[in-house]
């Protein structure tokens, strides 16, 4: 009796590849289901895309009937005397274990994995789009630029050389000339320039209609840190979404207190706050810009406004009127009211007032906590598909 030895395989197959991919898919869909919690927890806002965040994963644990720990277990000592009553360790707190280990603890139905912010944002936006997009004149927006295979050519880039086709061409030429495709006596197989075949690619451009997104934010004195944070979170998501999904949708930033100004992206996300609130000023500014640069016949207009609704009473009728006008020229006008819970002073609300606008393309949401940001964002952008269901 002696063993049989089999040498190492030259090119071992990566046998678990398929199952790993499947597992990653499960992780991904688990993330998608819990995205609202993750966003609320991790505050990805403003983080650079390659940063890693820890994300709890649910639903891909494997369950069995197991015992809890109401009865004793046996361990062995490390040499020193053990006495009854000695404390030999602590129970692991759920969710505080090392990545991948928390799941071993009974009853904890999630473990953590690391995902980078970039991937997280991609997952978030997977099934959202700007609603009610209409075909306008002079469609100019590229939504997709795709490179596709399209036949073969004699000339091309070296990397696109198709070796198999080239050799076939060469053999064909040899056969035509010599009646057979045998190699020359000296063993060489020279190629002619005409033998070369390159894969040809063309670029396809998909165009969609023009669109512009207005981000209107209240930067008055009543917008404290929390409110500011909530509204910026909302606009950050909006901006990321538009920038990622549409190659050239235009975004206009408007900040207002009692006066409105068009600002740059940087200013918009970092601007300090002061002054009172004339909501109408923001809308007027937007209307002005629309009249100036984005004619509704040519452009799909989307406007979103975040405010704490603490408007000067005298301005409210104007605000309603301006909002109505804005509804007329835009595909969707969304108003998000930021009212953190327990803010103590509960100021006036515009949501009630805006109810009477009654335009089909007007939407309001109430954002009370950071957990609300994502659902309200989704409510705006998946509106039409929910209607369709």
């Amino acid at each position: 009796m002696s063993g049989l030895f089999r040498p190492k395989r030259e090119a071992p197959a990566d046998r678990s590849a398929g199952d790993r991919v499947r597992h990653r898919e499960k992780v991904r869909s688990s993330i998608r289901e819990n995205i609202a919690d993750i966003i609320a927890e991790e505050s990805i806002i403003g983080r650079s895309g390659d940063r890693m965040v820890k994300v709890p994963i649910r639903g891909i644990k494997e369950y069995r009937f197991v015992y809890g720990d109401n009865q004793g277990q046996v361990g062995e000592g490390a040499g020193e005397e053990t006495e009854r009553g000695d404390v030999v360790g602590q129970q692991q707190q759920p969710g505080r274990g090392q990545p991948g280990e928390g799941g071993d603890e009974p009853g904890v139905d999630y473990y953590e994995t690391e995902v980078n912010v970039e991937e997280l944002i991609n997952i978030m936006f997977e099934d959202l789009e700007l609603p009610d997009m209409e075909r306008k004149q002079h469609a100019a927006i590229e939504t997709l630029r795709q490179s596709r295979r399209k036949g073969y050519r004699h000339i091309g880039l070296r990397v696109r050389l198709d070796r198999r086709k080239t050799v076939k061409e060469k053999l064909r030429r040899e056969r035509v000339r010599h009646g057979s495709a045998t190699a020359r006596p000296d063993g060489r197989m020279p190629f002619h320039e005409k033998d070369l075949r390159y894969k040809h690619r063309t670029t396809e451009i998909h165009r969609e209609s023009n669109a512009v997104v207005f981000c209107i934010m209240d930067t008055s004195g009543s917008m404290d840190t929390t409110k500011k944070y909530l509204s910026r979170s909302f606009f950050y998501l909006l901006y990321q979404f538009v920038a990622r999904r549409y190659d050239s949708v235009e975004v206009v930033f408007v900040a207002h207190d009692i006066e409105a100004k068009e600002v740059t992206e940087d200013e918009f996300f970092s601007k300090g706050e002061a002054g009172g609130t004339f909501v109408s000023s923001g809308y007027r500014k937007a209307l002005e810009i629309i009249a100036d640069r984005y004619h509704p016949d040519l452009w799909n207009v989307y406007a979103f406004h975040c405010s704490d609704g603490d408007n000067f009473g005298s301005d409210t009728p104007n605000a309603v009127k301006a909002a109505q006008e804005l509804c007329e020229v835009s595909n969707l006008f969304g108003y998000g009211e930021i009212k953190p819970r327990g803010a103590g002073y509960y100021g006036s609300s515009l949501i009630e007032t805006f109810r009477k606008i009654g335009a089909a393309n007007f939407q309001t949401v109430l954002i009370e906590r950071k957990e609300d940001v994502w659902p309200s964002f989704k409510a705006f952008l998946s509106r039409d598909r929910e209607d369709a269901k």
Partner: protein
């Protein structure tokens, strides 16, 4: 690093020579060389060269690879399959000493697989081919356009959750339903009473012979397969496959301590008699002590098993061990035990007070968030410690849950019963697992168990999970 195959073969010849002289009785042994990535691959599929696809194997690969890459966990020195011929893997990156040690260790396992009674029904000649056939069948279902990977996983996920709820001891014959019915009928007949003329007539209780199952059924997957009329053939086949693969692994679960102890015991005997060059000898001692070090607070099966085998041998031989080549009382004792015991019986028979003390065994329980020592191995406590070990090793760590009624309340609901022995079920897991049972049964599933001294019935139906106190 390129491994010197001829050198390993030379060592192997001397190892097998010694193993035979010691009386080890092995299947033919095959070794396959691989790198660490392949090793991780084999590990995630329990060593099988071919296994059906499922995401859980990908998960286990990722987990092991992460631990390995971060140096938190080394790779096992040995990975050996109970098949005939037996198949083991050697890592080409390992040192010569480590590979020689692995070879010696593998022959110990091989002998155990061939001779221990728990493995007697595993049919090792068919191991590789049956796993391969399972893999092919599952792939067929995955590729079938009318089934597809999602539906296959839907069933497999649920089947995996229940797979351990099966027959524990394959040496016990499974009584078919007909026979059970016959048995129930005979039990209901009045006993033969020679004095029946003066005794009061026994009351006849009609047995319920239509009940399914007649006697509580422990093979949950097979019961679901046989009594859920709405399962498709391919779904039934998946349940069969998962059941069969679990049955294959149960003997290994049941003999972990004995098996690892046995292999360690023999690799030690072989390696110390192999006349290794001094530097290899030293390296061997380092590896040996690393594998056999006690896991403080836990339980290292290699260490526990090795210590016990050594103790059994020495207690029959006096202090000085004799040469293993000659038949002795100590050798007879260990070879008998390796044939007829499994972990629970092995511990009950051979774990003495002296051993408990030498191993520093203690029992611990939870008190709020602390693990507190409840018993130590003194002359009072050691029996409790042994008892606690005996009930928790091998399949003892899996709750016993049986089907008692397949047509509960006449609604084709299922009633399961947990044989409560003082250990409570973990509720979170029980809820999910009951959900999987419901998925495969298609009707409400209830489970009777005990929680904090109360008799409780857990139910999973269309409305989800619910727990209620059981009416007396």
């Amino acid at each position: 690093m390129n491994v010197d195959l001829d050198q390993l073969k030379r060592y192997d010849e001397r190892i097998t020579e010694l193993a035979m002289a010691y009386g080890l009785d092995c299947f033919e042994q095959e070794f396959e060389l691989c790198d660490h990535n392949e090793m991780l691959g084999y590990m995630s599929y329990s060593g099988m060269p071919s296994r059906y696809p499922h995401w859980s194997y990908g998960k286990s690969f990722e987990k092991m690879k992460t631990l390995y890459d971060h140096g938190a966990q080394g790779l096992p020195y040995e990975m050996v399959i109970n098949s005939n011929p037996s198949l083991a893997y050697l890592m080409a990156d390992n040192s010569v000493c480590l590979n020689v040690l692995t070879i010696a260790h593998v022959y110990g396992h091989n002998d155990f697989f061939k001779n221990n009674f728990t493995f007697s029904r595993t049919r090792p000649e068919y191991t590789l081919s049956s796993f391969k056939s399972h893999a092919e069948r599952v792939r067929t279902y995955v590729e079938d356009p009318s089934i597809g990977v999602d539906r296959v996983e839907y069933v497999l996920d649920a089947a995996h959750a229940l797979s351990m709820q099966c027959q524990r001891n394959m040496a016990v014959r499974k009584v078919p339903q007909d026979e059970q019915r016959q048995r129930a009928f005979e039990a209901s007949l009045p006993t033969d009473d020679p004095n029946r003329s003066i005794h009061q007539a026994q009351e006849y209780i009609e047995p319920d012979l239509r009940r399914i199952p007649i006697e509580p059924e422990e093979n949950l997957l097979l019961f679901l397969r046989d009594y859920n009329p709405f399962l498709m053939d391919w779904e039934k086949d998946l349940l069969t496959i998962v059941h069969e693969e679990t049955q294959y692994f149960i003997p290994q679960i049941e003999t972990k301590i004995m098996n690892e102890g046995w292999a360690s015991y023999w690799h030690y005997q072989i390696m110390t008699n192999l006349d290794l060059p001094p530097e290899l000898r030293l390296e061997f001692m380092v590896h040996h002590n690393q594998v056999l070090r006690p896991h403080s607070g836990g339980l290292n099966p290699y260490h526990l098993g090795f210590t016990m085998w050594d103790h059994i041998y020495k207690s029959h031989e006096g202090i000085e061990p004799a040469d293993h080549r000659n038949a002795t009382a100590g050798k007879d004792a260990i070879f008998q035990a390796r044939e007829s015991e499994r972990d629970s019986s092995f511990l009950r028979r051979f774990l003495t007070e002296e051993l408990c003390q030498r191993l520093g065994l203690f029992e611990y329980g939870t008190n709020r968030n602390d693990y507190v020592v409840t018993e130590i191995a003194d002359d009072i406590g050691w029996r409790q410690i042994r008892e606690s070990l005996v009930t928790s090793v091998g399949m003892g760590s899996i709750p016993v849950i049986k089907v008692v009624d397949g047509d509960h309340e006449g609604k084709r609901n299922m009633l399961l019963s947990h044989s409560y022995d003082g250990r409570e079920l973990e509720m979170g897991q029980a809820e999910k697992t009951l959900g999987y049972t419901f998925r495969l049964w298609g009707r409400a599933v209830s489970l009777d168990t005990n929680i904090a001294g109360e008799e409780v019935r857990l139910t999973y139906d269309d409305d989800g999970f619910a727990a209620a106190e059981r009416a007396a």
